[in-house]
């Protein structure tokens, strides 16, 4: 769309009748004057609450343009540039993109000129030179809740200590990292902190990279905080037009917020591919209030953070023990020769076959992790000779859900997988093997997550973790050391079950 610039005041071309002047895309208007708020104006609370705390495109606001524009004229809403020119090129103000190769231009039917747009956040709608971002200057009174937490479960000692640190971070607007081993019970750790925030009338957002985690978390939060409207935001969710003091969202959805949250919890920070990380960093900084608490939760902080924690430069609390109090099972390494060559010839290293056969005989289920999709297909073909029920699953697999479900039900004895199942999927009483643990894809974090699949339930707290390799790597050693260190710390802090 285009605006007519009347001494810094913007008028959408389609609404401008009496004004004549050149209509331009918003990014080509040099000086935009903020308009003063008119307290006498009778506002549309529907519109303002839809936009509260957000950073939205006109296409995302289901209100007529003239209604939106009168709110602009009375100072309640402002039009901001979606794309701004920089010395090097462009910057997208929604996602922070400045990479030249992620901008493109086309002849735009909306502004009838060559228009540059951001390709990085295009999955959330196109932000271009002629796309205004809308921001509301209206803030509703925060709701305060008295003792909103209905959950009365018990926290383990490790959880308790971490939960206290979260409460302190919420109260004092601090940044905190919770390093919780796989199976520590990290969600419950957040409950007292969230509860405190709600008592203080703060807005809380829990952001996580994956939609399935949002869908799993939302009902748990609703149950724990029955009086609080919890909303879940992900691509395609229908709760977009509401803002609640407790939001669970995919990390990408944070791009649609603007200085909104007093407490932002980022779950599994390390789960993103490195390339998308800068965008999410920007999203978090944009969505949180300038003075607010920021809490990271992870089982596998990356190298730089581990270093900062060691040097005391980063506020962190660890939960080294699982909620059930049994130590983490420690992986063992086993050399398996040039397994790639063997697999190409349709063969399998003898010791890996033996490991699989043993599981099949004992009727114990297992995951077998392989480095790449291309290998997965071959491996499955070979293993089906041992047992036809063996299946493989990878990220783009259309039957992914069905296969994971069949595995849970016990219909698949061995599930061969790429690293997609390293997080999230927990099945009681399983063993885990990695074929080709030396591959670059198996970083310290990935291997710790893989090992973290084993021994999750209190009923079956142990199991076998075997890294089959063709040459040990530093990452393998670091992963093993991290697990041993966590067990030692749990022991020292008295968090492990005796006997």
């Amino acid at each position: 769309m285009r605006f007519i610039d009347v001494e810094g005041k913007l008028i959408p071309e389609s609404l401008a009748k009496e004004y004549s002047g050149e209509a331009k895309p918003i990014s080509r208007i040099d000086h935009i004057v903020p308009l003063p708020l008119n307290p006498q104006f009778s506002v549309s609370t529907k519109l303002l609450s839809f936009l509260e705390g957000r950073h939205l495109l006109l296409d995302e606001l289901p209100f007529p343009l003239d209604v939106i524009h009168t709110h602009y004229e009375h100072g309640y809403i402002s039009y901001e540039k979606g794309i701004v020119q920089t010395e090097q090129g462009w910057r997208c103000r929604r996602c922070g993109n400045e990479n030249t190769h992620l901008f493109a231009s086309f002849f735009c039917a909306r502004c009838e000129t060559i228009c540059t747009y951001c390709r990085r956040c295009i999955m959330m709608g196109r932000v271009s030179e002629c796309t205004p971002l809308l921001v509301s200057h209206f803030y509703s009174e925060p709701a305060m809740y008295e003792k909103p937490l209905a959950w009365n479960g018990e926290l383990s000692l490790g959880q308790q200590q971490a939960a206290e640190a979260v409460v302190a971070a919420v109260e004092k607007n601090l940044e905190l990292l919770i390093w919780a081993v796989c199976g520590a019970g990290k969600t419950e750790v957040l409950f007292p902190g969230i509860s405190r925030a709600l008592e203080l009338g703060k807005r809380v957002c829990i952001a996580t990279p994956r939609t399935d985690v949002v869908l799993e978390l939302a009902p748990r939060l609703k149950q724990a905080f029955p009086a609080v409207p919890v909303i879940a935001l992900y691509g395609g969710s229908d709760e977009r037009g509401t803002l609640s003091p407790l939001v669970v969202a995919t990390t990408h959805q944070l791009l649609r917020f603007y200085r909104t949250f007093d407490v932002t919890v980022i779950d599994e920070v390390d789960a993103f591919p490195y390339s998308v990380e800068p965008m999410l960093q920007y999203a978090v900084e944009k969505a949180r209030k300038e003075t607010s608490a920021l809490i990271y939760v992870t089982a596998t902080p990356h190298k730089a953070w581990q270093q900062e924690i060691k040097l005391g430069k980063r506020q962190a609390v660890t939960i080294p023990a699982r909620y059930h109090g049994f130590p983490l099972p420690v992986p063992s390494f086993e050399w398996c020769g040039n397994w790639r060559k063997a697999v190409k010839r349709g063969l399998f290293p003898r010791n890996v076959s033996a490991w699989i056969e043993r599981r099949l005989q004992e009727g114990k289920q297992a995951f077998l992790f392989v480095p790449h999709v291309e290998l997965l297909e071959r491996v499955v073909v070979i293993l089906k000779q041992l047992d036809n029920r063996i299946e493989g699953v990878h990220a783009e697999d259309r039957e992914r859900k069905e296969k994971v479900h069949a595995f849970r039900k016990g219909n698949i004895p061995i599930l061969v997988t790429t690293t997609i199942l390293e997080r999230g999927v927990t099945v009681p009483n399983i063993d885990v093997a990695v074929l080709g643990a030396e591959d670059d894809i198996f970083t310290e974090g990935a291997l710790v997550q893989i090992a973290g699949r084993v021994g999750r339930s209190a009923q079956y707290p142990s199991g076998d973790i075997r890294f089959f390799h063709y040459g040990k790597t530093k990452e393998m050693l670091k992963a093993k050391r991290q697990i041993i260190r966590m067990n030692k710390e749990a022991e020292e802090r008295g968090m492990l079950k005796r006997g």
Binding site: D59, F106, F107, A109, R110, C115, I122, M123, R126
Partner: protein, 236 residues
Amino acid sequence: MRPYCLLCHHCYQPRVSWSDLLTLKKGDCLCATCRRSFSLIDSDICSDCGRPLDHLDHSYRDGDVCNDCLRWQNDNEWKGVLAKNRSVYVYDDVMKEVISRWKFRGDYAIIEAFRHDVCRVFSHHFSSESVLVPIPLSRERLYERGFNQAKALAELLSLPILDILERDHLEKQSKKSRHERLQMENVFRLRMSLPLEKPLVIIDDIYTTGATVRHAAKRLRQAGATDVSSFTLARA
């Protein structure tokens, strides 16, 4: 500096052959993995609608014509309206995803990924004397999308483009069945008169039932055109 793949945004090593160097052809804008994921339509196709016949059961075809086209041929109202259709890619899951990113999300730049194949397949099946007629969008839809995908495709071909069709704003085609699409009144109108002696090629992004391009072809024939075919990016 190594280029970034237009689709997956990863850095890649472009494959350069001697002929590329000699002809100064530009390297591919996609990485090898993304390029391989596109399925070109080649070899055995229906002589009418250009759909691949190799996976089609024999009961769904008669010689080199598919049953859908036989139905068109047996319908007096539609018989001979469209000389033929040809398409570049199979409309499979990958193409669905790519086209949706391109036209619905509005990532215009993806057009470059189609350029080479579109030009090659077009010149294989159509005369260089052809005049292109892109399927138009309604004003409302054009504003919503920001660009007309059919026109963007036509612009790849460096042939004369006649933007002479107009369409009324109606609900989306993709939500209708073949029957509903056929029953519809012709949504196209002609803006001006035609150069009757040239072969006309209607350009669109997807051929699904063939109703859209036939409606457009009919309008062109009513205005006196004698040679009307169509060319689409994908064939469902």
